[in-house]
Symmetry: none
Subunit: 501 residues, 2 copies
Amino acid sequence: MENKLAELKTRLQEVYNLNSAAALLGWDQATYMPPGSAASRGRQLATLATLSQQKFTDPAVGKLLDELQPYGESLPYDSDDAALIRKTRKDYAKAVKVPPAWVAKYSAHSTVSYQAWAQARPANDFKSVADLLKTTLDLSREYADFFPGYEHIADPLIDGPDPGMKASDIRRVFGELREQLVPIVKTITEQDPADDSPLRAGYPEDEQLAFGMTIAKDYGFDFNRGRQDKSPHPFMTSFAIDDVRITTRVQEGDLSDALFSTLHEVGHALYELGIDPALEGTPLAGGTSSGIHESQSRTWENIVGRSRGFWEHYYPSLQKQFPGQLAAVSLDDFYRAINKVSRSLIRTDADEVTYNLHVMLRFELELEMLEGKLEIKDLPEAWHARYEADLGIRAPSDVDGVLQDVHWYAGLIGGAFQGYTLGNIISALFYEAALKAHPDIPQQTSQGKFVALHGWLKENLYRHGSKFTPNELIERITGGPLRIEPYIGYLKTKYGELYKL
Amino acid sequence: MENKLAELKTRLQEVYNLNSAAALLGWDQATYMPPGSAASRGRQLATLATLSQQKFTDPAVGKLLDELQPYGESLPYDSDDAALIRKTRKDYAKAVKVPPAWVAKYSAHSTVSYQAWAQARPANDFKSVADLLKTTLDLSREYADFFPGYEHIADPLIDGPDPGMKASDIRRVFGELREQLVPIVKTITEQDPADDSPLRAGYPEDEQLAFGMTIAKDYGFDFNRGRQDKSPHPFMTSFAIDDVRITTRVQEGDLSDALFSTLHEVGHALYELGIDPALEGTPLAGGTSSGIHESQSRTWENIVGRSRGFWEHYYPSLQKQFPGQLAAVSLDDFYRAINKVSRSLIRTDADEVTYNLHVMLRFELELEMLEGKLEIKDLPEAWHARYEADLGIRAPSDVDGVLQDVHWYAGLIGGAFQGYTLGNIISALFYEAALKAHPDIPQQTSQGKFVALHGWLKENLYRHGSKFTPNELIERITGGPLRIEPYIGYLKTKYGELYKL
């Protein structure tokens, strides 16, 4: 069995290396690649994706997994090898259902589609990407149909980013959340809005980046094993446990964009950097789901990074860095500004309270497209209509409408967005558990210290990589299933202090 | 035959894509990779190299090539498909002669050897790498012996970077060149040296980079299909005909380092960018040899970039960019400074006249080691002795002696250096032919225009990629074999104006 396990690990390492190479090509595409080479990059990514798929779905891997199953089940459930065999068997069963031809086609398509979006968005030219998006929808449906017997056509698509989650469950949880959120948003937006003009006072790019990097370092981001670059759309990517990269974008006219997107991506990165090195080179060497991952980005961006205690510590240095812009702005006013609640157009700029409305409408649009109830040609208007209905505003064009997010242009339709709101819910759930173990976390935060929180998250979450499913982790950490109460409680407490609720 | 050719191209495209991905990983390693991830990057590169080799030496490729041979020979010699079959057959025949066990051993060894060198050079510790270098020499001889029937043991090693070139031919050409060069160097270095202190007056990094990029653009470097980044050692790399990247390093205390290394790498890049897009994804989609490639870097760096006419156009803008450093320096003095001839220790810093002495002594040392006339333990002293004999100087230690260049520590012994001097010789040969076709090239240069030269090189050289061998190209372009006269003529004319010759 030792030999078979070693052979399995050698094969998985090869797949991991191919996936790492592909991830680096993707990172390069979003950061430094010259625009003229989109087509060749697409071919390179297709080759890597095809080979990775071929190597992973090699019948020899299936045979090893079958032979190792009894051994895996004989080990303690929590052991690395048990988890490796268990998780790889699941992934393998899914992967062998997807034909290599589809993988190659999808990989090439998404590269072209991404590049087209990058040009279409500034040009407000949805028409130029509509046919590509139609193909994406077709590919998404094809993918779902490789898994017959689903309850909802979106389920196989959701199962990739959020294993074990189903459209029906998510709809239910989102329904409960919406019921709580809508009256809160209404109450708040009827009151005088916070003044966030100081955030737009003009902040030089380099100084913004340097300030974000200071906090990243304090959070525990290891620059020996990671770096930050600029890209049109901020993201985190990982090529190994010791090579985890984040990107951001900087607007001189908006202090909060680079700052909070940096804290957000650092949160993702801390998760990846915190994985047990013993899992390197295996399918366990990555965060376990989109929702759990997002819980970490939102923890470090919002629960920590937009808290009053955090800014009690950092605001004096921010004022020192930008005296012309902030010397006359009190901590209270700054805190209100970075937590301003308003009905806005851009998901990534949205405040904590309205953010989930942005996400949930996208999730619903995905389901409707997959169900065949919404055609691509009608999507731009459906987007506007939904914003008018849920947020009471309408984007002046598709730039901040249907062209706003990269997801559908660089991936599949279905499963792209639910993780964001699941992440918000889970962030509060896990933070509550961390607080129980370390009641002094808020006090540490107000001193610019994050050792207790980071350490607790590493011990209870990060180091496990993908050893456990999202629901298993929630059960291990909270002793129960996913619940929205801690998140609602968090919002009500925080925003109850800022507004009359 | 059409189907077989299409299948061959599909297989070659896959190999090309794997090589492109590996090249991007190498680029990243030299530019942006965080230091802590060297080990995982090594594993990723090993996976890509192994897969590329496996895919290329697949017996199915050999079978297709055999079946296609008569078809290839029935086509016009110059046709893309004839060249593809011809060149791929040669590469395949070579690749299958090298046992995978040797490849694995060599790959592991060169990684260890490179790391040892990186530590040995600053420590001036040749002894710590001597045994590794002995293994490199053994591996080099083993490699040569996979190709029995060679005239000289270095021939199979030279045939990789400079296909069709033989040690005996290169020795003859280098002998002629040395005979001409030695008295020129003697005559020049007996005269008062040029004053190059203005080049060390202190030049801000960003402005140096911006100035280099202006010239790159004027040369015709297409920023839509390429870019420049910084790295410890400048290089050019290509992931596709439409993704060609160069790197440079900048020293505030040396204006010429970034400037001329940029023009050098742009020369390499123009070659790769100029390849006919019809050759994309095949073994023809790259420069044909080390010598021909170097001819282009040296053309744009030296023949053009260090010419008087060039600076008649660019010097006023350089002075405007750096008034504090250059306002009081005349064009004549600047021109003399960037063309200063001196007996120096470092190959990469050497001027046009002495440069080839550095290269030729390394080439001779390689041959002597391979012939068994020079043992590794005697190499450091042989290096010093040769520098004393050829250049009249001796390095104070091995740091700038035998530990100076990375080549023998990261690759094989044999074939590592001759391309540099072949390139110088060929640059003048091709430039002479270009001048015959477009006598107004010097006049264009002195107006900052390069359309005629760039266009002629693209038409006669760049677009062909690797369709022709170096000797075929020289024959096509000049109507004869490799000759040193144009190069000697170029040096005598240029330096005869700067010095009494």
